[in-house]
Amino acid sequence: MLPLRYTFRNVLVRRASAVLTMLGIACTVAVFAGVIALRDGLLSVYHPRGDEDIAIYLRPGASSEGESWITRDIVDVVMKERPEIARAPDGRLLAAAESFLAVYMEQVAGGGLTNVPLRGIQPMSLELLGDSVRLVDGRWFAFGSDEVVIGVPLSGRMKNARIGDTLVLNLTPFRVVGIYEQDGVLGSEVWGDVDRMIDALDRPGYQRIVARLRPGTDLAAVQASLAADRRATVEVQSEREYMQGQTNVLGGVLQFLASFLTVIMGTSAVLGAVNTMLASVAARTHEIGVLLALGYSRLAIFFTFLFESALIGLLGGLAGVLLTLPFDGLGTGMTNFNTFTDVSFAFTVGPRLLLESFGLAFVLGLVGGVLPAWRAARLQPVQALRAH
């Protein structure tokens, strides 16, 4: 219909207004992208260690480790008698019992106390983690001793978390002997020997059993069998399923926040776009009359103004994306309300989010252009030509 350069140049000619509208849209897009980047960052940290066959055993009814309690007796029953747990070639059981407690630590950068995951592990825990875990500094703690290792993000953000520091668990001091790294949510925790921790805290119970299941195990069948098992009173789920469940509260809150803010700010931005385009149409009323006289259809007029507004939207989207990109990879921490512990993650600006941001900007521009474009298309050529 009307040439593209007509649209581009008209935006250029009224660039002060166009830029202001673009910036309004850019702010909306930046806020949207920022909050979703937080959410995506949070979700991406909760990925399973890559192994489809890892399962988590918890007390029946517990929705997270923090709520779970498994006695030593039950741990023995599960480990010794459950057939679905795999064994290594040398016959060792590929399962570990772990404890979990949200403990207080003080943040370095102010903000006071926060809850940090304290995990008691067994040697098999590390084996099950395989390549996903690495020692970064110092050494691994010795099983049987009162030593701990701390994850990289925590070591940076918490007080008393460097090699040589001492963490007092109840009455027992534990020395920090190493810093470890894990690509996942298990990377921002404090680890030590489970039996030493249980002892120090005077909490004679485990929170979970993590195990590799035999390949080809039907998880549903295992779950049914456990429900009927009167001695092994535990429930099982795949690690993937467990991870996904751990982000639903905070993930949901961030999603809601993003939607809420986007709707309100977006409406504000659209109103600005409507104003800009209305002024543009008003200033070009005679011109529209000439175009109609030339034989251009009303539809062509409508689409040309709609396109102009959408273009402003897209440019605003570009600005918004540029505002948000620097945040990509920026580390932060929040309390995960499912586990009640601090989780470290980074803003994650992925390709899907970029696409959504542009889409949002485009829609904002489009919506803002509808009324003015419709007005332009409904002009009567005779009246329009009388303008000026």
């Binding site: 207004s17 309004g24 109840n170 909490r203 309100i264 700010m265 600005g272 800009t276």
Partner: protein, 403 residues
């Protein structure tokens, strides 16, 4: 002066769509700003309105570690301590998919007198309301192990009355036979402070304790926190230190803080909320600022001819500038004012919607003041540039462009 306002009003009315759209954008932005600031002030109020004469004793290690029940008798004996109650989060639910409410196991003999300034029982057994209700309800609680007192909103939401039995499924304190926990409603309370939740259930801790011991818990089964009211003349930090010293050799080391500090921990867990909200507020204000500046630029552009005429008639540059500035202020104050009024007006429904997530959500007058200040600032920023432009406009130039 009056003529200024008349002219301004005519201009705004003539371009009613443009004025209306801009005012709507301002209203939305200021509403959102008030909302965002209110989240921060509500969180802070929870901390500052916490009782200064109440201490919280918990494990030094974690919120989730229970302290032995024997600690209670020892704490009571510390100098400066007035009353002590157990305070155990139960974490059960009535129906899984509905909005959960809080339940706490407490020492019924001390809890209600300790929290006399925070809540009041308004309905008791036998249909009693008014002053006698409280006594009757507490007496009923002493007589029935499974007794519970619920908040007014719980009674409203679920239609529970005195004498009803409420079954709860436990997530933390599960029984081996997985049966529900039954509680009998003996009283309904209403909060006396804005940051006290009206959707909580208070029940007898010893019911929880006995049941858990029967399930195999150790005999010294206690709670995660003990609330301690101190005597008015006692110094909180001294008493707190004394309590911690009492248990520094275990079996569980304690950390005693004021209730305010305890609340602060919860707030801090939300992350750097003030910073987050401040950046959000900034983005909101920026976004709408562009909109308003745009509008005033367009208004000035359209007024070149009229300005030429006014100046030719003898109006001074300053008068012309003032005209545009006043229009900018009127526009901003009307739109912004509407948003601010909406934020305050919707305070009640917002508080209900927030529920237990953010109890006592309130829009403070200081918040409204901040938003009003921002609105005025926007009016100035949006108007000053175009106003100066029109002020400097040479009348002959302006009149020529009218063609």
């Amino acid at each position: 002066m009056r003529s200024t306002f008349v002219l301004v009003r005519r201009h705004l009315q003539h371009h009613w769509l443009r004025s209306g759209l801009t005012m709507a954008a301002l209203a939305l932005a200021m509403f959102l700003l008030c909302f965002v600031i209110s989240i921060v002030t509500t969180l802070e109020a929870a901390i500052t309105s916490a009782a200064t004469t109440r201490l919280v004793v918990q494990s030094a290690v974690s919120l989730f570690v229970n302290l032995p029940i024997s600690y209670v008798t020892k704490i009571v004996q510390v100098s400066g301590v007035d009353e002590v109650t157990v305070f155990q989060w139960f974490g059960g639910y009535f129906r899984e998919d509905e909005q959960p409410f809080a339940q706490f196991g407490v020492d019924h003999g001390h809890f209600f007198s300790m929290y006399a300034k925070d809540l009041r029982i308004i309905a008791g057994p036998g249909g009693l309301t008014g002053p006698g209700a409280s006594e009757a309800a507490i007496a009923a609680m002493a007589a029935d192990r499974r007794a519970a007192v619920i908040g007014t909103r719980l009674a409203q939401e679920y239609g529970w009355n005195i004498g009803d039995t409420v079954p709860l499924t436990a997530k933390i304190f599960t029984k081996t036979d997985r049966s529900a926990w039954d509680f009998n409603v003996v009283g309904i309370y209403e909060p006396l402070k804005s940051n006290v939740d009206d959707r909580t259930m208070w029940f007898r801790f010893d019911y929880l304790q006995e049941t858990m011991i029967a399930e195999g818990a150790p005999a010294d089964f206690g709670a995660g926190a003990y609330m301690v009211n101190i005597l008015p003349e006692a110094d909180p930090s001294t008493v707190a230190a004394a309590i911690d010293r009492l248990f520094e050799n275990g079996p569980q080391r304690t950390k005693t803080t004021t209730e305010a500090a305890f609340q602060a921990i919860f707030v801090a867990m939300l992350g750097n909320v003030p910073a987050f909200m401040a950046s959000l507020g900034g983005a909101i204000v920026f976004a709408v600022m562009f909109s308003v500046v745009n509008t005033m630029l367009m208004a000035a552009r359209q007024r070149r001819g009229e300005t030429g005429i006014l100046k030719a008639l003898g109006f001074t540059d300053a008068a012309v500038m003032r005209l545009l500035l006043v229009e900018s202020f009127v526009l901003c104050l009307t739109g912004g004012g509407a948003g601010i009024a909406l934020a305050k007006g919707i305070e009640g429904p917002m508080r209900d919607a927030m529920g237990a997530a953010l109890p006592g959500f309130a829009v403070a007058w200081s918040t409204l003041g901040i938003a009003a200040g921002v609105t005025l600032l926007l009016g100035l920023i949006a108007g000053i540039g175009p106003a100066i432009g029109l002020g400097r406009l040479h009348p002959a130039l302006a009149l020529r462009s009218e063609g």
